[in-house]
């Protein structure tokens, strides 16, 4: 199971990084989304893979680690804020520069 989790993250990161390296703003945004999924999952996995024991106090059995979960919860919301900011930045760049190249040049590279 651990190897599967690692492989999944590897694929997510590979796709994310490849997209982030593209020349147009839209794939970069997609790539950032994929990367933030991967990062959130990684942080979440630091609490290890626990089945069927949500971190609710009072349960008899030991529960999943609540700390990475709390961390990831805010990270997801902040991640949205960041994505929104990047998206708007891309729009603004399009509006000001008239193209959607990440360098604002509009040239092929």
């Amino acid at each position: 199971m651990e190897a599967l989790a690692a492989l999944t993250l590897a694929v997510l990161v590979t796709c994310g990084v490849y997209l982030v390296l593209r020349a147009r703003t839209y794939p970069v945004v997609l790539g950032l989304s994929l990367l933030s999924y991967a990062v959130n999952l990684f942080l979440f996995f630091t609490g290890r893979l626990v089945t069927g024991a949500p971190p609710l106090a009072g349960a008899a059995t030991p529960t999943a680690d609540p700390l990475p979960q709390a961390l990831v919860l805010t990270a997801i919301v902040i991640g949205f804020g960041m994505t929104a900011f990047v998206v708007i930045l891309a729009l603004r760049a399009r509006g000001e520069l008239g193209n959607d190249h990440v360098d604002g040049t509009g040239e092929k590279s």
Partner: protein, 932 residues
């Protein structure tokens, strides 16, 4: 406490003179003087105690774990500097009142002067190396500001920058030296360091440490070869030159030598470095002083030379030499400050500082001339004046030195030679300015005596020169004894302050210097010609600027090489570095990547999920040019991520991820409308291959790290949270209790970040006009039906339902999955749905809320909840809770944390709505533009 006040009064008082200037120039000057006097008054008690033999010490704890505390100590050496700083400071304040012209901003001048005064007092009183360094840099900064006081003049700006560059670089070196010193001793406290001399000198890091510390001291005290900033600092107003660049700030370097003398001195390295640099400076600057035509330039080089003399004395390393060094600090401060003030008066009255023009001033200002001549005689080392006494001690010390073996004659000879030059430039100062015929083409003519009070500071200082020179035993002796005792950190050697020690070698050296100097001066015309021929325009300043230009060019070239403006390239470089940094330990380690924890079995459903997620991620990448399809694939990834959270017991995360997912889709679709719908292939195959390789490297690295982590044993710090969640936080949902209670402060920070991001986005959207596509990517025209009837009717029923879900999630969030973040997202999604189905106008007619105030209210409520616990004398964000019973609803619980969660909720709603609604309005605005 008084010690701290001595520093704080000028530092904080620096704000007052600029305010007092409204009530006139005198008011401003009086304010500055009153603050200085008050500081002197506070210093009086501790000073008396120090003279009684009891150093004063205070200490406040700040960050004891990091060894950072506030340590102040007033011993003899500090007492000497406090007296110099405050005493001469007071005289300079009085002098500057008359020196500064009507149009000069006097408030700023006095403010900066007080700032410097406080910083310098901090240097003198610090008993902690790093604290000393902070004040040290503050003196450099205030010196920069004071040199550039007349900032309309380019020479002032350049001089100020040069001074800052050199003293700042020295300060940086000194910081490194101090770190090493602190590392060697294990403490930054100076009084501890002073008693660890043997340990320090025997340490292998002694040499680099000493070199770095000395760099700081030498740059500050303008020692050769870092001397050249001081002559250019003469662009400052003369009171500044008198105060900072002769009496106090430039003494900070020698102060440091004196301060650390017991800890660092006594080695060959110290002797050759400090003594050598001191000697070189002494000779070089004394020689150069003679050839300056600028009145202040002469004084500046003479200052450098005297600083070299003091450095040399500390370098010699005998106790008597150190006493002489301290003595010369006192004497130099008095006669040089008075000389600068006299030079300022002459400049003020004649309008120039060129000695080739200023001649025969005796006729026009006999009073000033007398004062200046006495001071200049003290500088030359004429008997019955204070300069003579310390200089004779210096001569005597050079004779007693045996460290140079057969070359022992070098030092006395060099000292005498420097003495000859000193007499010669002093003679030039006297003769060239006050006699030597008539003035030539003065900008102001005829010059006359300055205002009465402008001369008072000069008179006081010159009187001191005479008093100390004639009656040393009853004037300066106690101060010298206590200061020298502090420098030596041990018993004082025997010395006598008498004027007449008999007809001995030092006296002969003095006589030779006097006679030789005057002889040299009479031959000056030949000498000047020779100097011009041998050293045509060798200027350290030019070298300095060349160096600076080279430095800037190199920096630019490096920047250009790394930064070509391509984001893709930066990202690739960044990632490549990251891959290398990750690969390095992997390649160098023999430990297996997988840890000892046995792998859990894979079940079919999880495998299916993982495969779908990976496939969807790949498909997103492959389809990135078909924009809409890529969004659909991306949301599959998001959906499976939420399922992953469920699979591994994180219901809160699943809820958050689901809601954020939808909000992100809406966001992407809104943006997509304004971006090209389809894209061609931009990059070459090679480029894509490279990128893919890099991406695989990064992905593989992350995969390996994840695998290595997951297969290693694991301990958690979360048990505390799980155990205390119910009894301490009053909630069963540990994740939510962590967010709103245990780590509430972090959450407060996070919602603040969100709010800032939203406001940033709002600002970016302001006035943005974008082109809107007329057809979809297939070339079909858009549907004419803006708000499909079925959709808009259906969603109206959904709104209350969705809001109910959000309230439900909010209320139970403390005990079961839910909470402010999730409830906020759900509310936002419910509202967004109305915007989509019924339009902005329809929704805003019924929902007349602005989103900015909601965000503000959210952050404020959260912060106020935190601050509320102060009312009960608890730390910020302490939560309280209680159980209540409501009929029908039953037992429920109310915690202040819920109020905090309400703040989170409001912020999230406000932020999401502000972003999406404003982005949505973009089309309205752009369409409106297009229509008209």
């Amino acid at each position: 406490m008084n010690l701290l006040l001595i520093i704080l009064l000028p530092l904080l008082g620096a704000l007052l003179p600029p305010l007092a200037i409204r009530y006139g120039r005198s008011a401003s000057a009086w304010t500055a003087a009153a603050i200085t006097l008050a500081a002197l008054l506070f210093a009086l008690g501790p000073l008396v105690a120090v003279f009684g033999g009891a150093p004063q010490e205070v200490h406040w704890t700040w960050l004891p774990q990091a060894g950072l505390d506030i340590h102040l100590r007033l011993d003899g050496l500090a007492a000497l500097f406090v007296l110099l700083i405050l005493g001469i400071g007071l005289l300079v304040i009085l002098y500057a009142r008359y020196y500064l012209a009507e149009r000069d901003p006097m408030g700023r001048f006095y403010g900066l002067l007080l700032l410097f005064m406080g910083a310098m007092l901090g240097v003198a009183l610090s008993n902690h190396l790093l604290q000393l360094l902070v004040f040290w840099e503050l003196t450099s900064l205030s010196s920069f500001l004071l040199i550039s006081y007349w900032h309309h003049r380019s020479d002032a700006r350049r001089g100020a920058r040069m001074a800052l560059a050199i003293t700042g670089a020295g300060g940086l070196a000194m910081l490194a030296g101090f770190m090493l010193l602190g590392h060697i001793v294990g403490s930054y406290q100076i009084s501890v360091i002073l008693n660890a001399g043997d340990l320090i000198r025997a340490h292998p890091l002694y040499a680099p440490m000493l070199l770095l510390v000395l760099l700081g001291a030498f740059t500050k005290s303008a020692q050769f070869p870092f001397h050249f900033w001081l002559p250019h600092a003469m662009a400052a107003p003369t009171p500044v030159s008198a105060y900072l660049h002769s009496a106090t700030m430039v003494k900070a370097g020698v102060f440091l030598l004196a301060r650390l003398y017991p800890a660092l001195s006594g080695t060959e390295l110290w002797f050759f470095l400090v003594g050598g640099v001191g000697l070189a400076t002494l000779l070089f600057a004394a020689y150069n002083a003679l050839f300056q035509h600028d009145l202040k330039g002469l004084l500046a080089y003479s200052t450098i030379s005297h600083l070299g003399l003091i450095t040399l004395l500390f370098g010699i390393g005998t106790p008597l030499a150190a006493v002489a060094g301290v003595f010369h600090i006192i004497n130099h401060a008095t006669f040089k400050a008075s000389l600068f003030m006299a030079a300022g008066i002459i400049d003020h009255e004649t309008g120039t500082r060129d000695m080739r023009l200023i001649n025969g001033m005796w006729k026009y200002m006999p009073h000033t001339a007398t004062l200046a001549m006495v001071a200049a005689a003290a500088m030359a080392g004429v008997p019955l004046l204070n300069g003579f006494l310390s200089k004779e001690m210096f001569f005597a010390e050079t004779l007693h030195l045996s460290a140079l073996g057969a070359f022992s004659w070098v030092l006395p000879a060099a000292a005498t030679l420097a003495g000859i030059f000193a007499v010669a430039y002093s003679a030039r100062f006297i003769h060239d300015v006050f006699f030597n015929g008539e003035p030539i083409d003065l900008p102001k003519f005829p010059p006359h005596e300055p205002p009465r009070h402008m001369k008072v500071p000069v008179e006081i200082l010159v009187a001191l020169c005479l008093l100390v020179g004639i009656l040393p035993a009853i004037t300066v002796a106690p101060l010298l004894a206590v200061a020298a005792g502090a420098v030596l950190n041990g018993p004082l050697p025997d010395y006598s302050l008498a004027i007449w020690h008999g007809f001995n070698t030092p006296f002969i050296m003095s006589l030779v210097a006097l006679a030789g100097g005057i002889a040299l001066y009479t031959q000056r015309h030949k000498l000047f010609a020779l100097h011009d021929r041998v050293f045509p325009g060798v200027d350290a300043r030019a070298l300095f600027w060349e160096f600076i230009t080279w430095l800037m060019d190199t920096a630019h070239a490096m920047t250009r090489a790394l930064e070509n403006g391509s984001l893709q390239r930066y990202a690739a470089l960044l990632l490549l570095t990251a891959v290398a940094a990750i690969a390095w330990p992997f390649l160098n380690s023999t430990a297996p990547i997988a840890g000892p924890v046995p792998a859990a079995p894979i079940d079919a459903l999880t495998l299916l999920g993982a495969l779908v997620m990976m496939a969807a991620a790949v498909v997103t990448t492959v389809w990135q040019r078909q924009r809409l399809t890529a969004v659909i694939a991306l949301s599959v990834v998001g959906l499976v991520v939420s399922l992953t959270f469920v699979r591994w017991s994180a219901p809160d995360l699943a809820l958050t991820q689901l809601s954020v997912e939808v909000v992100t889709i809406v966001l992407l679709l809104l943006a997509l409308y304004f971006l090209p719908q389809r894209a061609t292939v931009d990059s070459s195959n090679l480029r894509r291959g490279q990128d893919l390789l890099l991406a695989t490297g990064v992905g593989g690295g992350v995969g390996l790290i994840t695998w290595a982590m997951l297969t290693r044993p694991y301990t958690t710090i979360a048990n505390y949270f799980v155990e205390n969640s119910l009894p301490g936080g009053g909630g069963a949902n540990v994740v939510n209790v962590i967010l709103v209670d245990f780590r509430g402060f972090d959450t407060l920070g996070e919602i603040t970040v969100l709010a800032i991001a939203a406001i940033g986005i709002f600002a970016l959207l302001d006035n943005l006009r974008l082109e809107m596509p007329a057809t979809d990517d297939g070339g079909r025209p858009w549907s004419s039906e803006r708000y499909p009837l079925v959709l808009s009717q259906l969603t109206r029923f959904l709104l209350p339902l969705a809001l109910l879900v959000s309230v439900y999630l909010f209320l139970r969030g403390h005990n079961a999955p839910g909470g402010g973040f999730i409830a906020g997202l759900v509310t936002a999604v419910a509202l967004i749905l109305q915007y989509m189905a019924s339009g902005i106008d329809w929704t805003q007619q019924r929902w007349r809320l602005q989103y900015h105030p909601i965000i503000a209210a959210g952050v404020l409520i959260a912060a106020a909840t935190g601050a509320g616990s102060w009312l009960y004398d608890r730390p910020f964000l302490t939560s309280a809770f209680g159980h209540f019973h409501l009929p029908l609803a039953g037992e429920f619980e109310l915690a202040t944390a819920m109020l905090f969660d309400l703040g989170v909720y409001l912020t999230v709603v406000g932020v999401v709505m502000l972003i999406l609604a404003n982005l949505g309005k973009l089309t309205q605005r752009s369409a409106g533009e297009g229509g008209t």
